[in-house]
């Protein structure tokens, strides 16, 4: 059992956890502020992965730069969808449950469209590329550069966003919106502007994370959905709309996954993840790590 003490294992868990955390953060932002259930979230990850692939393959641009382009592209997609589809939905007088249910179906449609447009454009063939693949040794742990970058970027960005939400005026507005939609309108927050910003930010984060994921994983038009699922598990664990809780839950899931698998069998990974997911939803729909003011 001494392999459990291996630093390699811990680093792996942290990397997975931080990626989960960042991917889920985007989903959580959008759900928290607008109650939109973005089931197409993973497809933004896919777009980010393709951006990284093409920029590297065609122009030899490093994923570190490509991830910014991917974030921008995904953000633009977000802006188009927000102003094209969701702004009107949110401005209407529909009850929140209706918006939630509708958004799930609309995003499902969007997901199908994005996946198949990508398949039309780039074929369904899986693609991969090797960038930043030098091995870095830190003590007994050896790790590919790309994954080290992923760890640093995911942790850094997650922390930056939490700080931004805590200390900037815009961040404050976002938190106000998460806490209480109607009230924030009354106290004079420009709800539309904050929503647009959050929507774009949520999409951009997914795109950016996508580039980091695409360096180490097979890229295909249909790669995104598992990330949507994981992101949902994470934010349900951390509490829908609870941003810091979500980041922590991403880490927890990374640890559960890595050590759970090491202790039992990788076979049980999905049973484990969905088991946790179901239990949390049935017992505490508001999330395990939920503390109202944690954001």
């Amino acid at each position: 059992m001494e392999f459990l003490l291996s630093g390699q294992l811990l680093v792996a868990a942290l990397i997975i956890g931080s990626i989960y955390g960042l991917v889920a953060l985007g989903l959580n932002l959008i759900y928290g502020t607008m109650r939109l259930l973005n089931i197409a979230h993973g497809d933004l990850v896919m777009i980010g992965a393709y951006t990284g692939y093409w920029l590297f393959t065609l122009a030899a641009i490093s994923p570190v730069l490509a991830m910014l382009a991917a974030g921008a592209l995904a953000g633009l997609t977000g802006a188009a969808l927000y102003f094209g589809l969701f702004r009107r939905q949110l401005a209407g007088s529909q009850p929140i449950e209706r918006i939630e249910a509708n958004s799930l179906l609309i995003f499902f449609g969007i997901s199908i469209v994005i996946q198949n447009l990508t398949a039309l454009a780039f074929t369904a063939s899986p693609r991969t590329y090797q960038a930043l693949d030098t091995l870095v040794r830190i003590g007994e742990v050896s790790i590919a550069q790309s994954r080290l970058v992923a760890l640093a970027v995911c942790l850094g960005l997650s922390a930056a966003i939490v700080l931004f939400l805590r200390f900037s005026a815009l961040g404050l507005s976002i938190r106000a919106l998460i806490q209480h939609r109607t009230a924030s309108r009354i106290v004079g927050i420009d709800v539309d502007r904050v929503q647009a910003f959050t929507f774009v930010l949520g999409f951009a984060l997914a795109g950016l994370a996508g580039t980091l994921i695409g360096v180490t994983e097979q890229i295909s038009p249909f790669m995104g959905f598992p990330f949507t699922i994981v992101a949902f598990v994470v934010i349900v664990l951390g509490g829908l709309g609870n941003l810091a809780g979500g980041i922590a839950a991403g880490m927890v899931l990374g640890l559960i996954e890595t050590y759970g698998v090491a202790l039992t069998s990788a076979n049980l990974r999905s049973v484990l993840i969905y088991g946790v997911f179901i239990l949390v939803l049935v017992l505490r729909p508001e999330g395990l790590l939920q503390k109202r003011r944690l954001t």
Partner: protein, 392 residues
């Protein structure tokens, strides 16, 4: 309401008219394959082979029909959305609506199994390709044949032979939960035991695995001579990345499915050198047929063929072409020709016994300096097996 029903009726009629067979001079050859869904990423290897074949045959003036005439090929392809249920529907449609002259096989074992009953019902012979399972022996012979040489029980025997020749005394087995991986493991475990090869780590993992570090840390600690990864393409890539990171030093490292696909070697360059995988074909021998196929494929698609799927698909059309040249399009004669004939293919002579390929021995490939060589069986070697030395 009336309007709606009217519109529906009209569109249904339009569909019927559109689907009605067109009397054409071409030989109509149909198949279904996963263009969307779970298996979509795997299908292009097979589609490419079909398209290349049709193009070559047409360039030669058409398909030889029993020596009497030559007709150009028209391929009819449908998407089964990775769903075997759809494949059943599509093959029924191909046979009864489109009235195709010949059928090619879909991608994947479940799809082959699913359409077998359709073929049987309509007495329509079809040569299978990308399917492998011990269960295929339960199929009724006569209208479906399988080119595969990689049935799990035979594979297990061959693997033990290969391991023994490489002096491997202990292994770690990592198995994907998908059927082909599990089936392989089922036959491999007793075979290893019988051969006295010790299994130090036995770990299963799910198809959607994202990180293998946990398993590989265990493998590293156990220091086996060999690692047998009963993996699929996605997890094969994951294995290379993580095994390199963790520093798995076994001299024999095997990945079931994945390394035979063109992009795999391009992706890893030196790191994948020494990896052994399933396959019994390589263009690097002295077979002219193989070299021609390889060159044409590479020229047309700007990538290497999949040494497994593209090759199986290509072998199936080679057999079909030769059988049709002998028997024409008559189903009974064709069945007879396929069942009894011996065919020249890029994997050598092929003859069927019941539904199975009775000739081709199970083989293994190894990546050596970025090229895939046949390393087993010994009489078909294009290069001898070499130990894996580090990750470059």
């Amino acid at each position: 309401m009336k309007k709606f029903v009217g519109a529906l009726a009209a569109s249904a009629l339009a569909a019927a008219a559109w689907a009605a067979p067109v009397q054409a001079a071409e030989v109509r050859i149909g198949y279904s394959i996963a263009k969307t869904g779970l298996f979509a990423p795997a299908a292009p290897s097979q589609i490419n082979a079909y398209n290349l074949w049709a193009e070559q045959v047409n360039a030669r003036g058409g398909l030889d029909l029993g020596g009497k005439e030559k007709r150009k090929i028209e391929l009819i392809q449908y998407d089964d959305q990775s769903n075997p249920g759809n494949a059943v529907k599509i093959y029924e449609k191909l046979i009864t609506q489109d009235k195709v002259d010949l059928l090619l096989s879909p991608w994947g074992t479940p799809h082959h199994f699913a359409i077998a009953s359709v073929l049987e019902r309509h007495k329509f012979p079809m040569i299978g390709s990308t399917a492998s399972s011990v269960q295929l022996r339960n199929m009724k012979p006569g209208n479906i044949w399988f080119t595969t040489a990689a049935v799990a029980d035979k594979l297990a025997t061959a693997m033990v032979g290969l391991l023994q020749s490489a002096g491997v005394k202990s292994v770690a087995i990592l198995t994907n939960q998908l059927p082909f991986g599990q089936e392989n493991k089922k036959f491999l475990m007793p075979a290893l035991k019988a051969a006295g090869i010790e299994v130090l780590v036995d770990a299963d993992y799910p198809p959607n695995i994202k990180d293998m570090t946990a398993i590989l840390v265990k493998v590293k600690a156990a220091k086996p001579d060999g690692v047998i990864g009963l993996a699929y393409p996605g997890d094969s890539i994951l294995y290379i990345n993580k095994a390199r990171e963790v520093g798995i030093a076994a001299k024999f490292q095997y990945l079931l499915v994945g390394p035979a696909i063109g992009f795999f070697r391009g992706m890893f360059k030196g790191a994948a050198d020494g990896i052994v995988t399933l396959g019994h074909w390589s263009p690097h021998g002295d077979d002219a047929r193989s070299k021609a196929f390889y060159a044409a494929y590479k020229k047309k698609f700007k990538q290497e063929p999949d040494y497994l799927d593209s090759v199986e698909a290509w072998v199936s059309v080679e057999i079909l072409e030769q059988a049709v040249a002998k028997a024409g399009l008559d189903k009974d004669k064709l069945r007879q020709a396929i069942s009894t004939g011996t065919f020249d293919t890029i994997i050598g002579k092929v003859r069927f016994d019941g539904v199975q390929n009775a000739v081709t021995p199970t083989g293994f490939l190894q990546i050596q300096k970025g090229e895939l060589h046949v390393v087993w069986p010994k009489d078909r070697q294009t290069a001898p097996l070499a130990p894996k030395t580090g990750w470059k």
